[in-house]
Amino acid sequence: MSSQIVPLIIIGVSVLFILGIKFLSSPKTARTGNLVAAAGMFIALCALLKTDGSSVWAHGWTFNYTLIVIGTVIGLVIGAIGAYSVKMTSMPQMVALFNGLGGGAAALVASLEFLKDARGAEPVTAFITVPMLFATLIGSLSFSGSIIAYLKLEGKFEKPMTFPGQNILNGLILLVIIGLGGWLTFNATGGNAVTAFVVMFSLALFFGIAMVMPIGGADMPVVISLLNSFTGLAVAADGFAIHNNAMIVAGTLVGSSGTLLTLLMCKAMNRPVTNVLFGAFGSSGGAAAAASGIAGTVKPIQADEVALLLAYAQRVVVVPGYGMAVAQAQHSVRELTEELGKRGVEVQFAIHPVAGRMPGHMNVLLAEANVPYDQLVEMEAINPSMDRVDVCLVIGANDVVNPAAREDKASPIYGMPIIDADHCKTVIVMKRSMAAGFAGIENHLFYKDNTRMLFGDAKASLNALVTAVKAS
């Protein structure tokens, strides 16, 4: 392949990546977008160039090429097994794991380039050294941070781990890392450089752990999104170091879109990103809200009565939460909504931006249960018409329908946008018991006059509702 055609191919590949991400942001074209990006990746692989401008595939076969093929196949198998065996409820963990691997690879690539140059006699310019150091630092941080995020989502040490002076200690480690990086920029060759580099690498790995440990399990999606954009930037920096434009474009696109996505997620939760990263959430405040005293009592209801309300309603809105997914009740919900649809009831799902374990997770879980996506309505779109809804069915959701976010200035979730379930004529809350939600905050909704509580396992209750609606 001539070296004049390759830059043109890379331009085409960049366009495919941009279109791919663009298509990914609309439900109609999302699947195509993913395939377009994958096609771009394949084409770029075929046109892979070495730093001296010759094609990787043009040289004779060496043992290293055998290693490349074996390594790629092993990775393909690991990736495929992970991708096709993971449960949809565990999707955030899977993304964290793949992201960590990418970060680790980025760090290794940069390290190898650095160590090769460090042993050489030629002095290396800062224009090459800085991207290599940056990629090593960000990549290894992303690797260890993602592993911790994965473990936290799996339920291991889910609670934030904090101790006094933690932010100061982390700040000091970061200063040492930056100091070593600064020194290495101008002393990139020789034995001392190798030692300093290894120390920096290890500290960066440790910093990834120290950064994520104090953050609670509920905030992991934001962390994963941030680390995802970090890995993107590390890959772009690698692209600078080894002169690969495709890597620069792809890495940068992920870096900047990932940063924006992180900010969008924080906006949806109404929390500044600094609060997520440096302030342990839910460690205080929950008790104060409970003590403030709530007027009204909890009024239980039986499944038969709920079925009657639903069957003769005109408009029903379902508010699903992660509790529904844990109870594996998505299919029962779909069955119920289909049954109501047959009777002419208008049914919609109201999706809070952070429903599930990360933004958009609930849509994936409902899609898996064959709920058509045009039945899913986002919070901002459905809130203005909530007062015209006859029955609102809250299944396994808690904090996202808590009116305390609007009414109680003392509440830790005050100011968070919520679905206005309490505006509906009747609210049915399906719940296992009266325990508080993830944030440990008492829910004012449960005590409202128009709220009825249907206690029990979500799946069993829904199946009872389906039977009762069919009979009525």
Partner: protein, 91 residues
């Protein structure tokens, strides 16, 4: 020093911001997963350094980098596709 790469970098930053500025939150998870797959292009970096590896240490580390990168890129695209194939419109 080649300033063209910086030029590419700056433009890509803005394009990255622009293309997802209107993404609905229902697609945040697949989008995160899809962009996650795109940075799997680091597999190329792994291939390039392993192709040039001179020492056993470099071969070993390069080999690990290729496995990691390959799992990232293939797994990422597959899992994103698995999620998105379930998004269906009402018949």
């Amino acid at each position: 020093m080649d300033t063209n790469v910086l030029f590419i970098f700056i433009l890509a930053v803005f394009v990255g911001f622009e293309v997802i500025s209107k993404v609905p939150s229902m697609l945040h998870t697949p989008l995160m997963s899809g962009t996650n797959a795109i940075h799997g292009i680091i597999l190329f970096g792994g291939i390039l350094v392993l192709a040039d590896a001179q020492t056993h240490l470099a071969q070993a580390l390069g080999f690990v980098a290729v496995i990691f990168g390959s799992a990232n890129v293939f797994g990422g695209f597959m899992v994103t596709d698995r999620m998105l194939q379930m998004f269906k419109k009402k018949k």
